[in-house]
Structure formats: C-alpha cells, structure tokens
Amino acid sequence: MATRGFTGRRPAPEVADRVPPGQSITQGFPVLSAGPTPRVTLDNWSFALKAGPRLVKRWNWAEFCVLPRTEVNRDIHCVTKWSKLDTTWTGVLIDDLLADAGLAPPTPFALAHSYDGYSTNVPVADLVGGKAMVATRYAGNSLAPEHGAPARLLVPHLYFWKSAKWISGLQFTERDEAGFWELRGYHTYGDPWREQRFSGN
C-alpha cells in the first residue's frame, strides 16, 4: 500500500543488498538498553563458561587478555530498525574460548548472561565456526561503557539484542531457554534477513 506523498530515501545502490528488510542504514551507533549501564571494572570482571549449573572455567581480565585475538568486519542489524555497515571488532572467538577450556559444546543451546541481569539465548551452531566472539574492542578502541564495556557478545548475523552487552558468561543449556527479550515477545532466533523480530514472525 503506497503512502500518499511518501518518496523516501533509499540506501546507495552499492550497499542496498546489505540492508535487510525493514532496516535503514545509520552512520551513528545508537544505544538500546533495558536499564542503566552497569558499572563493571576490569578488577572485578570475569567471564564464566558453564555447562548447565556446572562451572567449566572462569577467566579474569588478565587471563582473558592472553587468549587468541581475532578481528572481524561485519554489518550489524538492530531490531529497532537500524543497520550499521562495516563495523570492526576485536575479541576472542567462542571457538577459542572453548578450546582454552578444553570443552566441546555439550548441548545445542546456550544462554549469554550479563552483569546487569540481562540474558539472551543463541543456538550453539550460531556461536561456533568463527560466527561469534566475545568482543573487547570496537573500531580500534576499548568498548564504551554504554556499548558493553569491558566485553560484549558479538553475533553479528542475528539481530543485535543477541549480542549481549556487559557479558559475564556463557552457559550451555539442555533446552532452548528464552532470555530477557525472548521472554518479552521477541523472536527466539532473530534472523534479520527473515525479519524475525517478534515471536510468531
């Protein structure tokens, strides 16, 4: 249904096929958070890898910083309609975390947990194989507090609420357990190319 008088502003043709349906390109970096930015310092930061309730390994900041680093350049897509192209991140691939812990994924599902109480579920298949990392740097700099410092999950091929800010750990779960937004009407998987914004999409 055409909207009377609306012409709109299309993305440049050379990037149009990188913009999923319903999304618009932003040059900024909007912030969406359910609550205040938590105050996480490097002194008290740690990252826990759990299989169900069992702690497999915990890294403090110094230990985390000696893990292999990987840089990636990816387009990111937020369910609030913005997409940002060519974002550059540095961090530790989930593959490298698992290798350091000597753990093969024990279940097909995982929950990322954050310092502010946030959580989000991601299938393990979307975390391994170089698809996801725990990112500590964006565009060559440490993360800004409002963007998840000191570390956030980066799962760039899913809507960005899956890329949990202020991440405190990753937990393998027997079932696909809904996280914060997934419990509040958002899609359990969140593929931007299939426009899986909401539960039932």
């Binding site: 909207t3 008088g5 609306f6 319903g22 509040r184």
Partner: protein, 252 residues
C-alpha cells in the same frame, strides 16, 4: 479455506491500515498524530507501534513510535513525532502527512518499559524531550485508573515553550491527585519553585525523591541516549537499585 502464514500469526504482528484522524501541534518541533487503525488492540502504557511507509515503487521504511495516549482511549493511538532535520520519516509526517491519510501500523510491542496498575507505585518518571511519549501514557493511565499511585514526573526540555503536554500536565499537577510535575529547563528560567533552570543533576533528582516522599517502586527514564546515560548515572550515584530502573533510549 486456505490457511496462510497470516492466519497463523498473532494479530499484533499483522500490518494494518490506520487513518490519521487528527494532528495536534505540541511545540514548534513536535506534533501528535492520532491514528485510528482498522482494528484497535489494547496496549500497555509504555508500549510502542511499528509504522511503515511505502513509496510508489514499493520501497518501504519502518520506524517505532511509543504510544502516548492512555490505554483507556479505545480506538485511537496517539504518536508523538519530533521533526528531525535530517530524518527520513519525521519531516514527511510533519510536512506532508495530513488528516485522512492512511499509514500502516502493527503492534503494540514491548514488554519491559511498561506499566499497569498491578505494578503499583510510587513511580518516578524522567523524560527528555520527546521521550515524554511513553511516560505520558503512564501518567494518563495512572491518573485514570491508579488513583492512589503517587507519581512524580521530572520533565526536561530546552525552554518553557518546548515542554510537550505543558497545559495538560500542569492541569494534572494542579488537580493534586497524587501527580506532581517538575520541569528541568536547560535554556530557560524556572517559572515555579519546584522547577529548575538547569539540566537534571543529582540535587534535582533528590528534590524529586523528596517530593515523592518514599523511594519509588519503579523509575522510568526515556530520552536520547546521552540524556538517559547522564540521568541513570546520577540515579546509580544516589543508590538506586538498577533493577528498579527501566530505560528507553532513542537517537540514530
């Protein structure tokens, strides 16, 4: 009967036509659009709608807008739109869209930045600019149904003339039914003793707390990201439990 994807989707996920029934100028940069959808769905105060515009060649663009009207205003959704100079949608809505035009909407959506009477109070609401929209729905809903819920709204704007819903909020404040308004004007002088001619800072938040009398059960903060970051930083400094503070941020 053929079962389509649409038949199996939840109602609120389906795009539907909504007629612009009324447009109200709120301030120099802000207008309210009252939309009457084909099928109005109940919403919770604080929720938002998705709006979709389509060009003649099929190009589509979507945005989310908080509903400012009260859930009790059945049949209509009021959306608050600030005209952004470089925006794709807001200049169209301000300059081109007219009463009788049809937009597409779906929703309501959002399950966190919401309030209903069962959530109780007291409530501290903090709005920056057009961030008043979802908070206005909460104010209207709490005064309509939540009779004994104490609510303080701390509303930030550049000047007195940029205060969205100024007359309605002052009338509610004067009615004295548990609702109090405090203004923070960054580029204007305070006109009442409870208002401040400066940005929101810790002393102003302490004054809002004093006006509430007891610690708020929930605090809702909505505005631009820098606004929300600054305000919530002060709230954490003041010892607020972050689990009681809900935020919504906008800006591209």
């Amino acid at each position: 009967m053929t079962v389509t994807d649409a038949d199996t989707q939840a109602d609120h996920l389906l795009w539907q036509a909504a007629v612009i029934e009324r447009i109200e100028t709120q301030t120099a940069k802000v207008k309210s659009f009252y939309l009457r959808p084909q099928k109005w769905r109940f919403f919770r105060a604080g929720q938002h709608l998705d709006v979709r515009l389509t060009a003649p060649d099929g190009y589509e663009v979507q945005r989310s807008y908080s509903v400012a009207s009260e859930p009790g205003l059945a049949g209509l959704y009021e959306l608050v739109v600030e005209r952004l100079k470089d925006g794709e949608i807001s200049p169209f809505l301000h300059d081109v869209a007219a009463v009788g035009d049809v937009l597409e909407v779906r929703g309501p959506f959002g399950g966190h930045f919401v309030w209903n009477a069962a959530d109780g109070g007291p409530l501290l609401l903090i709005a920056g600019g057009s961030g008043i929209a979802p908070l206005m729905s909460i104010v209207r809903h709490s005064t309509a149904v939540g009779g004994d819920v104490a609510v303080v709204l701390l509303q930030a704007a550049r000047t007195w003339n940029d205060v969205i819903y100024r007359e309605e909020l002052h009338a509610l404040d004067a009615a004295g039914a548990g609702f109090a308004l405090m203004l923070s004007l960054s580029r204007d002088a305070a006109r009442r003793p409870q208002d401040a001619g400066r940005r929101i800072d810790a002393p102003l938040l302490e004054a809002a707390l004093a006006r509430l009398g007891v610690a708020p059960r929930l605090t809702f903060v909505c505005g631009s990201n820098p606004f929300v970051e600054a305000v919530t930083g002060h709230l954490l400094d003041l010892g607020f439990d972050p689990q009681t503070v809900r935020t919504e941020r906008f800006g591209w």
